[in-house]
């Protein structure tokens, strides 16, 4: 067989073509994701500032985690943030969904756009907008609270309120995205269930709790998992809210784990320690996700 024909028949083989087609994405994921993941785990056993010789210190970085006050604060803040944001998002999304999934309301599609506006906003920009809305002297939020005769709150400068501020921004950003998922889930519920319930004379509340809610559980489970994961990785908004201030009492009150990872790795150049923190975060997120997948069997209905 001439060389050219041989090469052509080689290329025509399914295996060769298959490998060639997956090659670019596989190489990229390998080089920039998979190898770095393994590398990061190895790095967590070293002391390294990114330039000097790496020094093997075993599990010392991990031991340090439990005595590092700023890490423990960030862990606590991230837990509080996630435990506040996820349930509130689900609550809001259900309320809004019930209102917006009904096509018999005229112009409902137009109104939906109002609710989707946060999806279009860059998180960094969203945090900046809220920073002014929450400003204690010039902000709209305190003005509104004034109408309800609530005295002005130092949202961004008092340690008690800075984390709630970040939580408010997180909810605002998250609700819009999840609302899209919930509305499509609600519209996917066959109308005949509701018609049957109407014949039986069921009330609106009864229909919501007996039909809508059970049939939405797969969508709710998806929102729960994805929101928990993204809440544990919160960074953009926290970094803008805390951005201009040096580490201090406000930081302890609102700094997130990823913020801490960034600070250690790329401001203090403790790259080994930073890697240990990110590995810890990975383990926590993985554990929570696995538990959710186990628990879902008890409450999620798959048709």
């Amino acid at each position: 067989m001439p060389a050219k024909a041989m090469r052509t028949s080689f290329i025509k083989k399914e295996g060769v073509q298959g490998w060639l087609m997956i090659l670019p994405n596989t190489l990229g994921l390998l080089l920039f994701y998979l190898i770095p993941i393994g590398w990061s785990i190895i790095l967590s056993l070293f002391k390294w500032n990114g330039l000097s010789k790496m020094k093997f210190i075993g599990f010392q970085n991990f031991g340090l985690l439990f005595s590092d006050a700023s890490f423990l604060y960030s862990l606590r803040n991230t837990f509080i943030y996630s435990i506040a944001v996820v349930p509130l998002i689900i609550l809001f999304v259900l309320c809004f969904g019930v209102l917006l999934a009904r096509d018999e309301i005229k112009g409902v599609a137009g109104f939906r756009t109002l609710y989707f506006l946060p999806v279009m906003t860059m998180p960094v920009a969203a945090a900046l907008i809220w920073k002014w809305l929450l400003n204690s002297r010039f902000g709209l939020v305190n003005k509104f609270l004034g109408y309800l005769s609530i005295p002005p709150i130092n949202w961004l400068t008092s340690p008690a309120y800075v984390l709630p501020s970040v939580i408010i921004i997180g909810i605002w950003l998250g609700v819009a995205y999840d609302l899209i998922i919930i509305i499509s889930g609600m519209k996917g519920i066959p109308g005949m269930y509701y018609e049957a319930a109407d014949i039986d004379g069921a009330s609106g509340f009864r229909k919501f709790f007996s039909i809508t809610l059970p049939l939405l559980t797969p969508s709710l489970f998806f929102i729960l998992i994805t929101q928990l994961i993204s809440c544990f990785q919160v960074f953009d908004t926290v970094s803008i809210i805390l951005g201009a201030d040096p580490p201090g009492s406000l930081w302890n009150a609102a700094c997130s784990v990823v913020m801490n990872i960034y600070q250690n790795g790329f401001v203090n150049f403790r790259m080994g320690y930073s890697s240990a923190q990110s590995f810890m975060l990975f383990c926590i997120v993985l554990l929570i996700t696995l538990v959710q997948f186990k628990v879902q069997k008890k409450w999620v209905n798959y048709a």
Partner: protein, 274 residues
């Protein structure tokens, strides 16, 4: 279904009330971008600006290299989107429709990327970029985001739902697998590809942590980082900051307006497939 008039009226009231609450921050951003400093510092705050002038927009474009941040963001977003479209669709087709040794194990290994938080790769990727001499360059910012396990998985699920008959027909006509993919399957997957484009554009446009790490000067800064750095500077006022934020949001709004159907479908799709 019959609903009483009061029920409908209450629904309208609540929809508008909550809708205004959700929309206020966004509207506030646009309104503030037209206000003067005096109006901004007014107590109690005024809602509408007195004049709609572009002064703040011009100031912000002059005080920082805003246009070059804009250009960087566009270039990086385009590179990432085109790369993901090409690489993910090819890989997705091969995993969904072809059979070759080792494909299952490679697929599963690649999917583990989906489970690992992006923070884990920051330090190693930074070192890789430093070794390649790509720190503070547009390629350095763009590279990791050009490959995606999520996009590959999304498209693979879509190709799985398409019939195998085209493949057989194309093969009998002497097409290579790549030819069958390019001529038959790729055009059929337009809606899934548009979903991927929307996801990639949104992710890339809003991306903050990685560009913050890899950019060290205005040579490679993107909008998110540029705007974030602005707020630390005392000479930049909030109304100018809001002008910057508004400009940064315009492209995403345009995408939403033009692709609203796909936009909503794509997000809904990710929820159903998840």
């Amino acid at each position: 279904m019959h609903r009483s008039k009061t029920n409908i009226a209450v629904s309208y009231f609540l929809i508008i009330l909550f809708g205004l609450a959700m929309a206020t921050p966004f509207v506030w951003m646009i309104l503030s971008s037209f206000k003067t400093e005096v109006e901004l510092m007014q107590t109690p705050p005024s809602f509408l600006p007195r004049h709609y002038k572009l002064t703040n927009y011009l100031t912000i474009m002059q005080s920082i290299p805003f246009l070059s941040f804009y250009l960087h963001t566009i270039i990086i977003t385009v590179i990432r989107t085109l790369a993901q479209l090409a690489f993910c669709s090819m890989a997705a087709f091969a995993f969904a429709k072809m059979h070759f040794k080792g494909q299952n194990i490679v697929f599963i290994v690649l999917l583990t990327v989906l489970m690992v938080p992006v923070q884990m790769i920051l330090v190693p990727d930074y070192i890789i970029m430093r070794t390649l001499g790509l720190v503070d360059s547009l390629w350095g910012v763009a590279l990791p985001g050009m490959f995606s396990a999520f996009g590959m998985f999304l498209l693979r699920q879509f190709y799985m739902s398409l019939p195998n008959e085209f493949l057989d027909a194309g093969r009998i006509d002497g097409c290579s697998y790549f030819g069958v993919f390019r001529r038959l399957y790729l055009p059929l997957s337009k809606s899934a590809l548009i979903s991927l484009v929307i996801f990639t554009v949104m992710y890339s446009w809003n991306d903050f942590l990685w560009p913050l790490i890899i950019s060290s000067s205005d040579n490679s800064r993107v909008l998110s980082v540029g705007i974030a750095l602005l707020q630390g500077q005392n000479r930049v006022y909030y109304n100018e900051l809001m002008a910057g934020a508004t400009m940064a949001t315009i492209p995403v709004i345009l995408i939403f307006v033009f692709f609203q159907r796909y936009f909503v479908q794509g997000i809904a799709l990710s929820g159903i497939k998840g």
